[in-house]
Amino acid sequence: MYRRPNFYTSYESESQMLPTYTKKVVALLAVSIMFLMPFSLPVIDQLPFVRFLGDGNWLRPMATVFIFAIAALGLNILTGMAGQVSLGHAFFMGVGAYTGAVLGGSPGGGLWGWGLPIWIWLPGAGVGAALVGIIVSPVAVRLRGLYLAIVTLGLVFVGIHLGNTNWGKKLAGDPGLGRDFPTYDIRLWKEDKPLVDVDNDGHWLWFDVSDTQKQYLFLGVLLLVFILIAKNIARTRTGRALQAIRDRDIAAEVMGVPEFKYKMIAFATSSFFAGVAGVLFASLAGKLPATQWSLVLSVEFIAILLIGGVGTVSGVMLGTFFVVLGPNLVEQFTVWLSDRIEQGGPVGSVADAILTEGPDDLGPVSIATQTPGYALNVFDWNLVIYGVLIIVFLIFEPLGLYGIWVKVRNYWKRWPFSY
């Protein structure tokens, strides 16, 4: 029985977080690469894609990936696990951001801010969002599907409107310019010199680290914590109750799962994740206007779940990578293509067929800023690719990138009898 997959002798072994030896090794490797990636180390430098992403210019997008992943994990609890579609995720991120800003932000200029340290404002942002989630949930738990989506959609607009009210401006600052958010610096209390300085270049252990690298590492640790929380929720009574509600709410109630209570828990947990991610996002930017927490942001999380695969942590991670880094990669690819044209050869002529370099050149992708002809520029193509991908995934691969991986894995697992 030793090392036979899918054969479990106890519930504990079946519900392990990393059930197989291979998974443990892969997880360990992934985590070490994640943390060593920003540094110039002999082995890491040899890994092509890792070397590329670990480069200075990519660290900030990578940090954004981590934050988005935390928020997406939260939405995954609500949508993937409990089956409740929410378009209000951006609103809860905003609630978290401003709770955090009031707790940790600097006062002055008519803005509220108490200047508390990060160990208060970071969880506080999550708790604040969770409380708002609980307040909203009595309405939300009575609805599902499209109706719930519309109600939560309303929250986003309510939020943006509140930002324009007078007390909203005390929270969010000027509607056009935004307000400052607290930095990641770790302090015991309000002392001047932080215990751990995350916002300036410095020296950690054996490494010289820049501010961007510090933020990346800090967010990486937080992401791991939230992955553990999300994974654990799935393995508990709560997780099973939520899945029962998702699969058939009436059947779940008949079996004694209190629907109202568990939907409320799902809303609160999901909002907690969103709140923490919201304040981290705002804090990374430093200054944001209230319009940031818009429908666009909510839709991006729906896209992450759809493309990555609903209901699994790995799917969420894949989806976040894809959605957040996708546009950057497409642009990088275009740059690469235009370099190939200069070099010529067969690759060069393919690149030439794709790119439009002047008014008389044919090709669907234009590298000019202004494109009066039919060719679209890279930025427009990004929008097209994004939309097409969502459609393609919905039609052909509803389980998302994660589903593709499972299929590939199963093919080789059963090889040569994969039919």
Binding site: S40, G54, D55, G56, N57, R60, P61, T64, G83, G109, L111, G145, L146, H161, N164, K170, D174, G176, L177, G178, G202, H203, F207, D208, V209, S210, R246, D247, L284, A285, K287, P289, V296, V299, E300, I302, A303, L306, V310, V324, L325, G326, N328, Q332, T334, V335, S338, P359, A368, T369, Q370, P372, N377, F379, L383, V384, I390, I391, L394, P398
Partner: protein, 492 residues
């Protein structure tokens, strides 16, 4: 089991796919191919390390930058004829200038034209030998009108390595520029904002933000003064977006109304929320029946409000801050009403509207470099950003200091007066802001007969539908205003 959830998903998600298409702008973007790629190898070695004043922080050795291929020693090059200190974004043959611009967000239609215009401008500069013997390379990144993306781009271009730029000849958007204002100071970088908030001139807010032309606030004072004089008016309604744009414009309009003795019959400062239902504002306007309306909104919102009020019988004279109006509105049903009632206020000359050297240079330059580009007024913005950047950099080179700090110093040099060659009033940035800020603006009559819907820059008759009424002019209110801080001071 899985099937059911999937179906539910399809039902719920399909309506939003369309939304996602429109809304996908949020993703991070970066791109540096858009400009002419001049040279592959850009050496990290500063050519002449004299660096008199540039305090370039040692920067925690950035382990990420280890491409050895990038270090091409300058020893193969002959010694520089004039000793010019450099640090980041400048090599012996290249100067890198950054544009952190909105190429896919809500202002993309205008900003892509501005960026295109700047690219044309620098192509001409490069053909004429560049700046201090160096070719100018533009680094254009798209911020998608998204603050976090803007910051990502900023970090990339502010890098203290060969990847960095010397200054930003454009930084699109107020919240975006505000989010980088402190970093600009810390990194010794200059940025020309695409935003005309009066607060930028206040060193406490925008020390390294070089606002070109006048601000919303002074534009409102001049515009309202002109309108009142031309129409024998006694009442005015003021409407605008909440925030630094709408409320700065409204602040100026109120100061002017007070000075002119105009009665403000409807104060809609901050009442126009973009994207929401404008019926309440329209109703207030129609009930108030003002002689004049001063608006600080965007073209779509203007069309909605002005069209609504017009349909209900309001025949006031309208005007507003740039960019409340766009000449493309003439192609809509509102065209005749705009022709009759709207007066356009701007900070600069408009396309082919004046016989000044800058206009000739710009029109000929665009015709030579972008013959098929659609006709537009914003190329003037591109050209003036180009003039300002070029003259600042030439001044820095003349001072022998093309470092980032040297460029900042050059911009604030008392000897430097930026010459816009008649496209806009000349400008300096040294001394007390109250002494140097620009207070002049222009008023244009909207004229349907001068509008060609699909004209290109090469077309002699192509026009954007304007006749100059007055400008550059300054009203007494603007001239006498004591600038100590922004007209509208937001909380925060």
């Amino acid at each position: 089991m899985k099937k059911l959830t999937t179906r539910k998903w399809v039902k719920v998600a399909v309506p939003f796919v369309t939304l996602a298409l429109v809304a996908a702008a949020c993703g991070g973007d970066d791109d540096d191919d858009a400009a002419s790629d001049t040279t592959g190898a850009t050496g990290t070695t500063p050519s002449v390390e004299t660096t008199p004043s540039s305090d370039t922080e040692p920067e925690g050795t950035e382990p990420a930058d280890t491409e050895p291929a990038d270090t091409e020693p300058a020893d193969t090059e002959p010694a520089e004829p004039t000793e010019i200190a450099t640090d980041f974004g400048v090599t012996d043959d290249t100067i890198r200038i950054g544009l952190n611009a909105d190429l896919s967000g809500i202002f993309a239609p205008l900003v892509t034209q501005i960026v295109d215009g700047q690219e044309a401008y620098w192509e001409i500069v490069n053909e004429n030998g560049g700046i201090a013997g160096r070719q100018v390379e533009l680094v254009v990144l798209d911020n998608g009108y998204d603050v976090p993306t803007h910051l990502e781009n900023y970090e990339e271009m502010a890098a203290e390595s060969a990847d960095g730029v010397l200054m930003f000849s454009q930084s699109t958007g107020s919240p975006h520029t505000a989010a980088t204002a402190e970093a600009l100071l810390a990194d010794d970088l200059l940025a020309i904002p695409l935003s005309w908030y009066s607060g930028w001139a206040d060193p406490a807010i925008g020390e390294n933000v070089l606002e070109l032309y006048t601000s919303y606030c002074y534009e409102s004072m001049n515009g309202l003064t002109y309108l009142a004089g031309a129409n024998d008016a006694s009442t005015v309604a003021i409407i605008g977006f909440p925030g630094e744009y709408g409320q700065d414009g409204a602040a100026g309009a109120k100061l002017a109304a007070e000075a002119l003795g105009l009665e403000v019959v409807y104060d809609g400062e901050g009442a126009v929320v973009p994207g929401s239902d404008q019926t309440p504002v329209i109703t207030e306007l129609v009930n108030a029946q003002p002689d004049l309306v001063w608006a600080t909104v965007n073209p779509t919102t203007l069309a909605e409000i002005m069209g609504g009020a017009y349909a209900q019988g309001l025949r006031a004279q309208w005007s507003g801050n740039s960019p409340t109006y766009n000449f493309q509105l003439l192609a809509t049903d509102l065209g005749p009403a705009l022709d009759e009632l709207y007066t356009h206020s701007t900070y600069t000359q408009l396309w082919n509207s004046a016989d000044v050297p800058g206009m000739t240079e710009m029109v000929e330059g665009m015709r030579a470099k972008r013959p098929t580009a659609p006709v537009s007024d914003v190329y003037i913005v591109a050209w003036t950003e180009g003039y300002a950047t070029q003259q600042i950099l030439e001044k820095a080179a003349a001072n022998g200091d093309l470092t980032r700090a040297g460029v900042v110093a050059a911009a604030k040099d008392p000897d430097l007066e930026i010459d816009f060659k008649g496209l806009s009033p000349n400008q300096t940035f040294s001394g007390d802001p109250n002494d140097y800020i620009v207070r002049e603006s222009y008023m244009y009559d909207v004229d349907m007969t001068k509008f060609t819907p699909a004209g290109t820059v090469s077309d002699d008759d192509a026009g954007t539908g304007f006749t100059l009424l007055e400008g550059p002019f300054v009203s007494d209110t603007a001239a006498n205003h004591d600038f100590q801080q922004a007209c509208y001071v937001p909380e925060g």
